[in-house]
Subunit: 224 residues, 2 copies
């Protein structure tokens, strides 16, 4: 039974990888930088995204977002207030997004022209395990870790941290009340993924967003 | 492909349910109350458990714990300081514990006699999706929600909240800095699982632990 499951999973992953590769080629041809945001539930993906969308828009960038959740369209409604195009993907119980869903929702989204975008953000389902195996064709996978979650999370969820390209520490405004050990968190991230770029942010106060937005602009420019 | 996966998953769940039923009978015969703690990564399962184990021990109860993680034995080492028997289960990438693992680890744990225990706590892998489908033979499933995660989590992860018997709000000491809306969180929990018992705790300050420990003692007494 286990062997069959592993084989089937490999088959699905292979299919997902093929679709992700097609998406990646499509994104590159359109000149849009695609980022896949992953984290635990409640780490603050939507809060980071809200401030990021507004910040990039204020700098003249053309942005859009796809947000995944098991249920509800809370996040899409919340992000729509930033005045950029946003679509919700409900996975109805599945713990991750897949490349096929991204492709299908982009095909359905008639008003959205990828080649008129600078950035497309994909907010994954809140989960530190399942999304790690599913390439969505993104250029950059961003793993978020909030100061409230504990500094040991990179060691306990190594696959996710290892699969990411960039890390963002969130809720830095709560570092004091949480007795957050910044050095330990950074050490643990580096232990799993040496040299990973790490940003320290607070979506509440705006701390760290100048560096984060400058990084995104640089990445967009350097790749297209 | 999808149909075959669903069929295989049903097969695994059926097998898991059978094993869980056996475990449940075994726990009942031994007179041990078994609780399965589920939540996001970083909600504070280990911190709640640490204070709970110490508190129950101080009241003369006989307690033990099994703790699940993808990797590391951090939690078991941390909990061992409470002076009660603790064992780590590493799932090596799997996003949930299964009944078979619980049974196997209990069989291997020669020093542990279930009929000499009042409580056995199982700390599940940090994940708000996958553990919901896997019965571990527990008497009570406890879902934790920290005030840092956002009041909407019950609506976004309904299967997990619906599958739980009791909810514990954690990190109440951070309610102020997080602008936590207590009424909204309770309303959302009740929307998914009307009438669910809800405790409001801080493992840091000890707030809410008198009620929580009294509840556990009552449940133990009333069932055996």
């Amino acid at each position: 039974m286990t062997t069959r499951i592993v084989e089937l999973r490999r088959g699905i992953l292979k299919k997902n990888d093929e679709l992700a590769a097609e998406l990646r080629a499509r994104f590159a041809a359109a000149g849009v930088l695609v980022l896949n945001l992953v984290s635990s539930p409640g780490t603050g993906k939507t809060a980071l995204l809200e401030r990021t969308l507004k910040g990039l828009k204020a700098r003249g960038a053309r942005v859009a977002a796809l947000v995944g959740d098991l249920e509800t369209d809370n996040d899409a409604r919340r992000l729509a207030s930033s005045g950029v195009p946003v679509r919700q993907i409900n996975t109805h119980g599945e713990c991750h997004l897949e490349a096929e869903e991204i492709g299908r929702h982009l095909d359905d989204w008639k008003e959205l022209a990828l080649d008129q975008l600078d950035f497309l953000f994909i907010e994954n389902v809140g989960n530190l395990v399942c999304p790690s195996d599913y390439d969505l064709g993104e250029a950059i996978r961003v793993v978020l870790l909030s100061v409230t979650e504990g500094e040991d999370k990179p060691l306990k969820y190594p696959t996710m941290f290892n699969s990411a390209d960039t890390a963002v520490l969130t809720k830095m405004d709560l570092a004091g009340p949480c007795d957050f050990n910044r050095e330990l968190a950074i050490k643990n991230i580096n232990e799993i993924r040496p040299g990973m770029r790490i940003f320290e942010t607070s979506a509440k106060t705006g701390a760290g967003f100048d560096e984060w937005l400058a990084y995104l602009a640089e990445e967009q420019k350097s790749r297209h």
